[in-house]
Amino acid sequence: MVQSYRSSNKTIYKEDACMSKTRKKIKKMVALISCVAMLIAVFPGCANQKTAAPDKNAPAQSDGTQNQTPAAPDKKVTLTLLIGNQTTLDGLKGVMEAIEKKYNIATEIELRPGGAEGDNVVKTRLATGDMADLCFYNSGSLFQVLNPEQNFVDLTNEPFMSNVLDFFKSTVSANEKVYGIPANTVMSGGWLYNKKVYAELGLSVPKTWDELLANCEKIKGAGKTAVIGSYKDDWTSQLILLADYFNVQAQVPNFAADYTANKAKFATTPAALRGFEKLYEINKKGYMNKDFLATTYDAALKMLAEGTGVHYPMLSTSVSNIEANFPDKVNDIGFFAQPGDSADKNGLTVWTPEGIYISKNSKNIEAAKKWAEFFVSQEGIAAYVSKQKPGGPFAIKGATLPDDVFPAVKDVIQYFDAGNTAPALEFLSPIKGPNLPQICVEVGSGLKAPSVAAQEYDRDVEKQAKQLGFPGW
């Protein structure tokens, strides 16, 4: 009994061994096949990309024959536009519709995040040659970092570039070649304020920093937030410092040139240091909302529109965002330039608009140029204005603003008419330290004294200049 049991057991073992051998073989086969399958899946991935472009146009051809309008070329082209998700799109969309009607060039919007994360998306896509046909991005110092000569199409000799104002061209140029068209209206940095509350409290627009502080004191006394801080979106913390540049250049006219050449520093130039001091003062006097470190840009605009906060140091174009969310409140919002220490030198710091650049890797460069041509034409402006009220003047020759612009924009235009404007430092110099938002948060929340912060920022600037290989550092 025992023996027979054992022998039967042995045969079972043998069978088992056999089974495990075949199993091993099967396993090997499966592994091999799956490896091959993965490789195959990767390769057509590359191949597909190459064939994708003509494919896209294939169905469009039939579209073209159906389209009877004579102005439209027979092929429909679709361009892609990479743009930050915090941009107001209404005006742009208006232009895009007009372009599609006229040239049969459709535009597809690809959204990317704003701020530093957005910068990374743009840089990565440029580096991998995967940029959209049109790239919407800052002009000035941030644009310089993108290596424009390699990545974008040179527009210097395009006839339509004569429509663009020269001061804008200088901010999208590298080595005297122009690469971009103005994507937006000119922005101004300063203080948005709630006119209703100003009227209630009997305040007038401040012309000096001390008057501004006096206004803040009264607003604080009335139980409202005098200055809205929105440091959760840390880029917003820089506004007081950057918008002070008109006052800096009023006192030290060649600061930008010296600064670029490593001769002037924030810490050693009292006029420049004032910007940090102002930021510090606002916090020290307790004018800010309590939760300013957790408040976002959108929440801040809400406070301003509803009048719980009265001042918001911001870009003038934010009124478009207010209009989008609180259309009935936008007429309560006014704007003034950041005041300096004396009343007779009062003027506005101006941000040139973002640019739209054409990617060198684009397959539709001709269409993109047509797109750009329309964009800077009077027709283009008309299409823009029909969908979105401009947040400031255009950087395009002969463009006039409609009469029904927002009150805040009217306030802005006064400074332009009087000629009291200066471009912000970041458009005069390619140098801007990447840690400025964080440093401003530290000063603006009272963690760091202005002089210390200025020194730290100077080091940050030095680091950038060295890393990016600017001459003279």
């Binding site: 470190l293 990447p434 440093i439 890393q467 990016l468």
Partner: protein
């Protein structure tokens, strides 16, 4: 060693490393990273072990509780960061509203410079303790029942069980948890980035988030140097610790 863009480079020796180690906005990360790694690791070990022992006892809802403990780990870190970020809002956040309901004025969890890092650590522990618990449960379950029986015959109580058997014999599990949690803490990035972005100012910057910021600014050379430094630090801490821990393990 070099200062490079994607197309061009220049040899500058150790300057990137010196910059990285000497600048205050860069080297604040070292202190924070160590605090972060040690605290998250320690808390995960303690809570994980207590939960593990508790969930190995004979309680009726054992299976349910085990899945509850493990649940946070299933969520994406980004989602957890964003959710806690809004819950910790000082005036509109859920946590402070709940505290206000019982009459406590909650602090600004992520805005207070002394508290911000601890808040993020708390969230990391909440999320990561599930894995630690699971490893501990596995370790405790693998302790042969005979040891406990022997102890009971010798007249030991449940505390002796815990102290003389469970604790020393789950050392292998504990070592895995310590090593995993510590390395995880040293290279942690996603949670801090979604919750504070290193802010306010630089107070919650970790080495990883600093490296990312350098990369974002286009300082590829500097961020490469930072990654090398991070690698060296993690190796310096992890290898000797691993050897020390495995040496002091008790054999079953």
């Amino acid at each position: 060693m070099t200062r490079w863009t994607l197309t061009d480079w220049q040899f500058i020796g150790f300057e990137n490393y010196i910059t990285f180690l000497s600048e205050p906005s860069l080297n604040i990360g070292f202190r924070n990273t160590i605090i972060y790694a040690v605290l998250t690791c320690g808390l995960k070990v303690i809570f994980g072990f207590l939960l593990g022992t508790f969930l190995c006892t004979n309680i009726k809802t054992k299976d349910y509780l085990r899945s509850v403990v493990f649940f946070p780990n299933l969520l994406s870190t980004i989602a957890v960061g964003v959710a806690f970020g809004s819950m910790m809002h000082p005036s509109q956040g859920l946590i402070n509203k709940a505290l206000a309901a019982v009459g406590i004025i909650g602090p600004d969890w992520l805005g207070n410079t002394k508290l911000a890092l601890l808040s993020v650590i708390f969230v990391d522990v909440w999320k990561g303790v599930g894995v630690a618990t699971v490893i501990f449960i596995a370790g405790i379950m693998s302790i042969p029942q005979q040891y406990y029986e022997a102890l009971m015959i010798d007249g030991g109580g449940s505390f002796e069980k815990f102290w003389h058997i469970t604790l020393p014999l789950s050392r292998p599990a504990m070592n895995s948890v310590i090593i995993l949690a510590l390395i995880g803490g040293l290279r942690s990035f996603d949670l801090i980035w979604t919750m504070t972005k290193g802010g306010p100012g630089f107070t919650t910057d970790l080495i990883a988030s600093i490296i990312y910021k350098q990369y974002a600014a286009g300082f590829y050379g500097l961020s490469t140097a930072g990654n090398v430094i991070l690698f060296i630090i993690v190796s310096i801490i992890a290898f000797p610790l691993y050897r020390f821990l495995t040496k002091s393990e008790v054999d079953l």
